[in-house]
Amino acid sequence: MIRTTHPAPPPLEVDGFSVTLHTPNVSVRPVDRVTYSVEAGEVLAVVGESGSGKTILNMAPLDLLPVGVDADMAGSVRFEGRDLLKMTASELEAVRGSGIGVVFQDPLSALNPVRKVGRQLTEGIERNLRLTPAQSESRAAELLALVGLPDPKSRMQQYPHELSGGQRQRVGIAMGISGEPRLLIADEPTTALDVTVQAQIVELLKDLQKRMGMAIVIITHDFGVVSGLADKVAVMYAGRLSELGSVRDVLVGPAHPYTRGLLQSVPSLTVPMDTKFVGLPGQPPNLAHRIDGCAFAPRCAEVRADCRGHRPGLLSVPRSSPGHLAACPVVVNQNI
């Protein structure tokens, strides 16, 4: 790998980032000392089971958690060199939309039910690109055409519930990229959709990313999306990164037993029909409880006695690219 020196700081540098959520009865830490970075024009996929903290990891620094969720954050999340956690509310407002765009998971609830789709789209364009209402109207129509929505002009006159799920998701994507952000965060943009539409959306994001040259963080649990779109993968388990590396390294040579388990549990068309389907046994741990030792140990096939002693950090995977890290001393030491 050739190291280039960047004159500008990378779009996203997450360093020792932790989030603690408080509810009336428990306090949980869904994100625990996570470190990674995203370079300009790069696509990072954050993978993990539901509840592994992927969404909170990405939404909390932007102050986009649901109302009433009380979050404490520690560490730093630098966007183009500036720490999001230290920004004032108005500085953060200036970053959202034009600096960092967001595509939300559930397109039905993410759109305002009583406002026309067009207005919801144009208001962001007006603000972030400083265009007149007329200009942003035509820009919105262009965007809707770009995301593959037929007859954008009349779509803009409709209310969200009058569109299909796939159409709404496309509107959501158009909305996320409407401010021409340098970084796009897409939270499971394909989960609510059927397979053919999923593939179209992945193609669309890929195409947009090339055209607009933005960095993307895509949150997903779908390895099809990962292989189709991402350059880099971060696997999350119980609030921490368990493996981080390029798509090639992680998908072809997964080091962490959890990543291997995840990959094995993906049904595939290329294996023989009678191959036994292996799912991941067990449940992810309850984050409300204190975790001692490796969080994955209870479900791990390679578990050793000393795995339960202390929680392992990320280690460089031998005989792989230098950026390939995994939080499993057992596997890493085996391979030496």
């Binding site: 603690t20 408080h22 509810t23 009336p24 009865n25 306090s27 009433g68 404490d72």
Partner: protein
């Protein structure tokens, strides 16, 4: 005594203190009252705050404190009676309508619709206008005006319960309608009715005062706050306390009832946690982490 502790926790001590002190005054009114509320002493007419009359006396020399205490009695007895009457009749109608459905349901609900579209004060006023102004007629009038609320509430609860499988199976097992109604449906509805009634008490106290204020409810010399206030209006310049004191008494009682109703409704349907609880939670977590 757990129920007492539960009540205490749900309602909170300021509200409980407010409402229970009014209840205390109403129950022991005749004992604690310094004078006969109707006794006139013209030599004390319009006396201000004094050792003899703590809260002064009115134009006829009647002791204001004693009349305020008697007013609490009048109001609370009225509120409780109306709630009992309207609640019972409303629950009866609502249960029958919800259980049997059909034309009975249709008729009861139409009358409820009418009761809802016309404000209760109009219905009560018309009733009192026909039958003549008196305390009893006012209570009857308010009960009639309040029946639709409880009928509809009960009918909703019962109609929902009737469609549940367990009621269906009771019917198949041969339980009589009376048994199903009294053993299974009324208890379900009663809880809801009580919660609603606690929120309704304040409105009723206001309605009683409104009618008496208009001279269509409690008749002199019986003491009632609204009626005390209206008869003091001519003297508002020289003795504003005669207007202000009954007004404050009524406002306090209604605030107490409203807070009570709000708290009970909140306990049934908890919303977001309070800020105090949240900061407590944060503190506990900090300790947990440090440990």
């Amino acid at each position: 005594m757990t129920w007492l502790r539960t009540t205490f926790r749900v309602v909170g001590w300021p509200t409980l203190l407010l409402v229970s002190s009014f209840a205390f005054i109403a129950i022991f009114g005749s004992v604690i009252s310094p004078y006969d509320p109707a006794a006139q002493n013209l030599s004390h007419s319009m006396q201000s705050f004094s050792a003899e009359h703590w809260l002064g006396a009115d134009n006829l020399g009647r002791d204001t404190l004693s009349r305020l205490i008697a007013g609490a009695q009048t109001t609370l007895i009225g509120v409780v009676t109306v709630l009992l009457l309207a609640g019972t009749i409303g629950m009866m109608l609502g249960t029958l309508a919800g259980y049997f459905g059909g034309w009975l349901d249709e008729i009861v609900m139409r009358f409820c619709d009418f009761g809802f579209s016309v404000p209760s004060l109009f219905v009560a006023l018309a009733f009192v206008g026909v039958f003549g102004p008196s305390y009893t007629n006012m209570i009857l009038a308010l009960s009639i005006a309040w029946v639709p609320i409880y009928a509809r509430l009960t009918r909703g609860v019962v109609a929902a319960a009737v469609s549940q499988p367990y009621i269906e199976s009771l019917r198949v097992l041969g339980a009589s309608p009376a048994r199903i109604i009294f053993r299974h449906l009324v208890p379900v509805a009663l809880g809801q009715v009580l919660v609603y009634a606690s929120a309704d008490a304040g409105l009723l106290a206001l309605a009683i005062a409104n009618l008496s204020f208009l001279g269509l409810g409690v008749q002199p010399p019986q003491a009632e706050w609204g009626q005390m206030l209206v008869s003091a209006m001519p003297y508002i310049q020289e003795a504003p306390r005669l207007v202000i004191l009954p007004g404050i008494a009524l406002t306090l009682l209604v605030i107490g009832f409203n807070l009570l109703g709000e708290r009970i409704a909140l306990a049934k349907n908890p919303r977001a946690m309070s800020r105090r609880k949240l900061s407590l939670r944060r503190a506990i977590f900090k300790k947990e982490v440090e440990a």
